[in-house]
């Protein structure tokens, strides 16, 4: 535990240095990463999504790939394809940009459903299949997808079932004024990030993820509490589709990571409740058309009326 705690501190020190004003987003992204999930960022362009993704990759010595989605993007553009090698006289698999540890998928809702499903399959299975051959994606594998919140023409919004594959849906938001001023003074920190050295190795990262999976205690009362929450979303009169089992599992995993980055080896209710709006809201389908703040209101009152496991 001590060892990993030191690593995680180093990581956060690194982000502190290069990514001012994004503490919350970093925390959420790192939790998703450590929980072996993926993150969907719904935000306006130019708020530092790419910087965030690059910083995460760099800090851990991981490879980084980027896919800019357009409506003519083909599944093979993502996964890669077989190319005929004249010298060897055979087809050779040329890996696509998905074969990286950290993959930034920009504006995922611009891609056609066909491409989207190829992406999401890769995210879920952590492998891709091209012309009958299956290729494993590198470990760790983490997708940061972004989507534009303002409705625009020519987009294919992700269906709820696909949204379920993202552990969290977050937004970065504008930095605070002073932080933004700092950015203006210092210019983009992108260059500094590219030149920086990784603070932990990719082996460390894998070990850490394994440690969280196996060594963080989640007691039954916490699990019961999660089930109480999940059941409530399923029984709620305004909600058409409540949380799935996968959602519940994700919540548990996220809670584990949250406990870990907070220096605990056991999960407490805060580990669930600090993130419920990021882990739960995007997985629920409401009966009526509601604004996101209305949806959050319903969810919050649901959470607040669930008895905390302090008995």
């Amino acid at each position: 535990m001590e060892k990993y705690q030191k690593l995680i501190r180093q990581l956060f020190d690194y982000y502190q240095k290069y990514l001012q004003g994004k503490e919350k987003a970093i925390k959420l992204t790192i939790i998703s990463f450590l929980s072996r999930g993926h993150v969907l960022i719904e935000d306006n362009p130019g708020l530092g999504k790419t910087t965030l993704a690059i910083a995460i990759a760099k800090s851990m010595g991981l490879t980084f790939g980027r896919i800019q989605c357009t409506n003519d993007l083909l599944p093979t553009d993502v996964t890669g394809l077989n190319i005929f090698n004249k010298e060897k006289n055979e087809f050779e698999f040329k890996k696509g940009p998905i074969f990286n540890n950290i993959v930034l998928i920009d504006e995922i809702n611009r891609a056609t459903p066909k491409t989207q499903s190829a992406l999401l399959e890769a995210m879920g299975e952590k492998q891709v299949t091209v012309e009958g051959s299956t290729y494993n994606l590198p470990k760790p594998f983490f997708v940061i997808a972004t989507q534009n919140p303002s409705e625009s023409f020519g987009t294919f919004p992700l269906p709820e079932s696909q949204l379920d594959r993202f552990l969290m849906k977050i937004s970065i938001g504008y930095p605070r004024r002073e932080e933004e001023l700092d950015i203006l003074r210092g210019g983009s920190s992108r260059k500094g990030i590219y030149e920086s050295k990784s603070v932990i190795s990719s082996e460390d990262v894998l070990e850490m993820i394994q440690y969280i999976k196996t060594h963080i205690t989640v007691k039954d009362n916490i699990l019961e509490y999660i089930m109480d929450l999940v059941d409530k979303t399923r029984d709620h009169p305004q909600i058409a589709i409540g949380l799935s089992t996968r959602a519940a599992l994700s919540i548990v995993n996220a809670a584990r990571s949250s406990a870990f980055i907070n220096g605990r080896d056991y999960v407490i209710p805060e580990d669930i409740l600090d993130y419920y709006q990021y882990t739960m809201l995007h997985r629920m389908t409401f009966k009526e058309k509601l604004t996101s703040s209305e949806k959050l209101g319903i969810l919050t009152s649901m959470v607040k009326t669930t008895k905390l496991p302090y008995a």
Binding site: K219, I222, R264, Y266, I268, P269, L273, K304, P309, Y310
Partner: protein, 621 residues
């Protein structure tokens, strides 16, 4: 079946049961609107205006309140409840309103137990408990899903499960009764709470002292005995034979005891005595024998003293002969003949009242005092020589002044005399067969020695009825005497409690159960037992609650709230701690959160002491 219909039917049955339980006590016209309301409720969807109904309810309640006396209190309470139920049935009904009707019905059934003690009550209460449970479940469903209709299976399940509660609770309650630990001090003494320190007579009393005793309206003691002529109820306590500087003392000598008491009705009694923090026991004048668990001292003045001060409730048996005088052939009259403290003017008055013989003189003094002086409880004579003040200037006073004046006038005429302090009268409770004697009944009278006989003389003109008639008491006192019944049984229960009687009671109970016949005064025992049971279970429940994490969390939140932190119990502990600005407080609070979280979500073991220490630290900040 539709839920609403089911609830209405349940409510109707509950109301009918509760009304049947009181049908004997409330005059018929009161039931007519209720019956109408019930029918209206079952067959009409319409409701009446709430404001109008409330106005009617208030009007009727005031009307009934004006016609209420102590004797009709419970009956009128029932009437009011019945009116309330009728009105509630007519109103638009939501969850809250249904709950109100349920509560009122339970009140009605409970109030029937105040007037009638019959085994049928058990039936009413069990049935209503079942119905209430059933209704509450239905109401909860109705509150959440008004349109839901229950199918047969669901209905059956609810029915059986709610039936289990009353069925199992009864034998369980009986079982619990036998394992209650013995207690020697009252758990709750709600009747006498306000004046914990009891007052009473002591071996020395200044003039005006009795009136301070009379000021407290607490019960001094209770005596189980048959009802006797109230004018004979002189309760003897302390005998004062030394008069010094306006106050009376008791000599407490024990050398020569040679009494002969006979010629009167013989009475035996059992006294339950409240703590006085003195040694004198009260007896019925003239006591022949006293049985007490402990050493007793009998004095020359016919007093009984215990060795230790009476600091808890005690009980003893006595037998007395109701006579006005007793023979004392070997009396030491040095004190009672002592003329010290008698002023010249008293001597002069005594001389003017003297007749040929002692008996005549005594009668003349009695007559003189009763004719020329007024009984008063206020504006009492005081000063250096209160007796002189009373005799020649103020001319009004209470029993102490009359008795003191008489004793001094007798002594001035060479008749040995002394004061007896004790109580007069008492309030007889016919149901329980005992006298309740309050400190209000404190009294002083005179004993004079004529022909070797001590004769009781009471110069005080106050009529005996003021010491025996309830109607003359203050409302508070009336209420107290009314409730004293409970207090008395409680006292009796506490004093006499032992395992032996427990077992006997158990055997009795089982035999009684077969014949289904319980005597009224036994019922009081059972009522008491149930009260104790209730108190104990709630006590246990509270005790148990103290061991849960939520108890500590609530306590923690309470402390923080007291420190002005805005607490939201529906969010996790750490998020509440985030609201604290004070660094020190925050640090300590975090410590608490860490500990309790660890206990709850890691070890699963509650370290009460650790939590308590942290909480103490937080409180101190």
């Amino acid at each position: 079946m539709m839920l609403r219909r089911l609830i209405d039917l349940g409510i109707t049955s509950l109301v009918i049961i509760s009304v049947i339980s009181v049908v004997k006590y409330v005059s018929f016209p009161y039931f007519l609107p209720l019956i109408a309301s019930l029918i209206f409720n079952l067959y009409s969807r319409k409701t009446l205006n709430r404001h109008v109904l409330t106005a009617v309810a208030i009007f009727l309640t005031i009307f009934i309140a004006f016609n209420t006396t102590l004797n009709t209190l419970v009956n009128n309470l029932m009437k009011v409840i019945i009116i309330f139920i009728s009105i509630k049935l007519l109103e638009e009904k939501r969850y809250r309103d249904y709950m109100q009707i349920i509560t009122l019905s339970i009140f009605l059934i409970t109030s029937s137990a105040l007037l009638n003690i019959n085994m049928i009550f058990l039936f009413y209460i069990i049935t209503s408990i079942f119905l209430v449970n059933f209704l509450i479940i239905l109401l909860t469903i109705y509150d959440n899903l008004p349109e839901y209709s229950l199918n047969r299976e669901e209905l059956k399940e609810i029915f059986y499960k709610t039936a289990i509660i009353p069925i199992f609770s009864i034998p369980f309650a009986i079982l619990l009764f036998f394992i209650i630990p013995r207690t020697s001090t009252p758990l709750f003494d709600f009747i006498n709470r306000e004046d914990v320190a009891k007052t009473g007579f002591t071996s020395k009393i200044g003039l005006g002292g009795v009136s301070t005793i009379q000021e407290t309206e607490t019960i001094a003691f209770r005596a189980i005995m048959k009802e006797v002529d109230p004018s004979k109820l002189y309760w003897r306590g302390v005998v004062f034979d030394i008069y010094r500087d306006g106050s009376w003392h008791s000599s407490n000598r024990t050398n020569r005891i040679n009494f002969t008491i006979k010629g009167g009705e013989s009475i035996s009694y059992e006294i339950y005595f409240e703590p006085t923090y003195d040694k004198y026991l009260i007896t019925l004048d003239k006591p022949v024998d006293l049985k007490f668990q402990g050493t007793l001292t009998k004095t020359e003045n016919l007093e009984f003293l215990t060795t230790n001060v009476i600091s808890k409730k005690i009980h003893y048996n006595g037998s007395s002969i109701l006579t006005e005088s007793f023979l004392d052939i070997d009396s030491d009259i040095t004190h009672s003949k002592d003329k010290k403290g008698i002023t010249d003017s008293i001597f002069a008055l005594a001389k003017s009242l003297k007749k040929e013989n002692d008996t005549e003189t005594i009668n003349n003094i009695l007559k003189y005092l009763k004719e020329n002086y007024r009984y008063s409880l206020t504006d009492l004579p005081s000063g250096k020589s209160p007796v002189e003040e009373f005799l020649f200037r103020n001319k009004k006073g209470n029993c102490e002044y009359f008795a003191s004046a008489m004793a001094l006038l007798l002594r001035a005429n060479d008749i040995p005399a002394r004061l007896v302090g004790g109580f007069l009268g008492g309030y007889y409770n016919k149901n329980a067969g005992y006298y309740a004697i309050s400190n209000k009944n404190a009294h002083v009278w005179v004993e004079a020695l004529v022909n070797n006989r001590w004769i009781r003389l009471d110069p005080t003109p106050a009529s005996i009825s003021s010491f025996t008639q309830r109607d003359l008491l203050s409302l508070k006192m009336k209420f107290k005497i009314y409730l004293d019944y409970i207090s008395f049984y409680w006292t009796k229960f506490i004093i006499n409690y032992d395992l032996q009687t427990q077992m006997e009671l158990a055997v009795k109970f089982t035999t009684n159960f077969k014949t289904v016949k319980i005597k009224p005064d036994k019922i009081t025992n059972y009522t008491l037992i149930s009260i104790i049971l209730l108190a104990l279970t709630s006590f246990l429940f509270i005790k148990n609650k103290r061991n849960t994490p939520s108890y500590f969390i609530n306590k923690f939140y309470k402390i923080l709230s007291e420190k002005g932190i805005n607490i939201d119990p529906s969010i996790p502990i750490m998020r509440n701690i985030d609201r604290i600005d004070d660094e020190k407080l925050k640090k300590e609070s975090k410590k608490f959160a860490e500990e309790i979280n660890k206990m709850l979500f890691k070890d699963g073991k509650l370290e009460k002491n650790t939590l308590q220490t942290i909480l103490k630290n937080i409180k101190r900040l």
